[in-house]
Symmetry: C3
Subunit: 155 residues, 3 copies
C-alpha cells in the first residue's frame, strides 16, 4: 500500500513550506481529535497565484486550479500538524469552500472540486468529507478561493 | 412522550430521500460525537424550490419557507446519519445560516428562523442551538438559503 | 500570575451583560469540550455601535474597533459559559471573522486583528487561535463586523 508521501509524489505534488497567516493567528490548531486550519489561500512562492474573481478574471478551469492550490497548502499545514507522520491522520472531515465571485457566477461546486478531488485522490476513502460552498464578494488579498480544512487525527 | 417521527407527522412533515451533494463530497459525516452536514439547499422533488435572492425575487416570508425547507432536508440527512434511530440524537448544536441577499436586505434573522424554529418544534429543548447568519452575494445553484447543521449524538 | 479578571481590568475592559441573540437561538453552547458562540455583533448599550460597511462608512481603524467590540461581547458570553470561573477555559480555538465589506475593500486581516489581538492580550498563549476571514456583502443589522468564537474548556 502506498504511503501518503508516495501518493503525493505520484500525483506530482511537492508540498511547500506551510504558509504563515496574515494576521494575529496561527495556521492550524488541534482541539480534541480535530485539526482545523486557518483559511488557506492560493499562495505559490510567496504570492497569491490566483488574484481576482471567478466569473471575471477567472473561469471555472482556473478556479479549480486555485482551489487545488489552496488544498496543497492545506496539506502542507496538515503534514506539520501531524508531525510529518501521516499515519496519525485518520481522515479529512470537512472542507469550507469560499469562492471569490463576480456577479452571476454559479460554478462554486466545480471550482471547489479542485480541492475535494485532490483530498479524495491523496487519501482515498479517508479523503471523503462534508463541504459548504459560499460565494464571497470581497476576499482577503483578492484571492480567487479560500478553503478551511478539518481533519481527524488519532488520540 | 411523542417520538421524533410522531412529532414530524404532527407537524405535517414528510422527510424526503436525503439529497445528494453537487460535488465530490458526502452529505453528512460523523466525527467524535458530532454529525455535521454539508450545505443543505432548498431542494424539493429534485429542484431548487427557491432560486433567487432575498430582497429581490423573494421577501422574508418566502425566505423563511426556503430556510424551513433546507432544515427539512437537513433532518433527512440526520435521520440517515443516526441509522433511522432518533434516540441516538442528543441535540442540535449549531446552525450555519447563509442567506442569498440582494443589496440592502437585512432580514437574515427572520429568514433563518424558518430553520431554527423547526428544530425547536421538532426536538423541543434538544433543538436549541447556536447560529451564525451571513448574507451571501452569489449562492451555489442560485439557492435563496443554505444551511449547515451540527448535531450531537450518543457515544 | 494575573487572573483573567485582573487582566481585563488592566486592559480597561468591563464586560457587558452578554447580548441575547436576535432570533430563535442561544448565544453560546457547549458540546464536548468546546464552547461555541453564536455570531457576535458590535453591540454597545443595546445598539449596534458600528453600523455600516468597511471601505464605505468605516475604514480599517474603526473596523478594528468594531472587531474588538465583537470580541468583548464574545468574552462576556464565554464568561457566562464557564460559570464565571475562567480557570475552566483552556484556550481560544477558532475565530470566524466576517467583515461587512464595500466593493474593493481588502483590509479584512487588519480589521479582524481587533478581535485576535484582544484574545492574545487577555489569555496570552491560551489566546492563540485559527482564523478564517470573509467579506460579507450584506450583514445582519448592518453590523460592520461579526465574529464567532470557539473555546476549549476542561472536561
Amino acid at each position: 500500500m502506498m504511503t501518503t508521501d508516495q501518493r503525493l509524489i505520484e500525483l506530482g505534488i511537492e508540498l511547500p513550506h506551510p504558509p504563515q497567516g496574515v494576521g494575529a493567528y496561527v495556521p492550524w490548531i488541534r482541539t480534541g481529535n480535530l485539526i482545523i486550519t486557518s483559511g488557506q489561500l492560493p499562495w505559490k512562492n510567496g504570492e497569491i497565484a490566483y488574484a481576482g474573481k471567478c466569473g471575471k478574471e477567472f473561469q471555472i478551469v482556473e478556479g479549480y486550479q486555485a482551489a487545488r492550490l489552496c488544498a496543497v497548502n492545506a496539506l502542507a499545514q496538515l503534514k506539520q500538524a501531524v508531525g510529518h507522520d501521516w499515519t496519525q491522520l485518520v481522515r479529512i472531515v470537512r472542507v469550507e469552500g469560499y469562492v471569490h465571485t463576480a456577479p452571476g457566477f454559479r460554478g462554486h461546486p466545480d471550482v471547489l472540486n479542485g480541492a475535494s478531488e485532490l483530498f479524495n485522490r491523496v487519501f482515498g476513502d479517508a479523503g471523503i468529507h462534508v463541504r459548504v460552498a459560499l460565494g464571497i464578494d470581497e476576499m482577503p488579498l483578492n484571492a480567487a478561493v479560500q478553503i478551511v480544512v478539518w481533519a481527524e487525527v488519532k488520540s
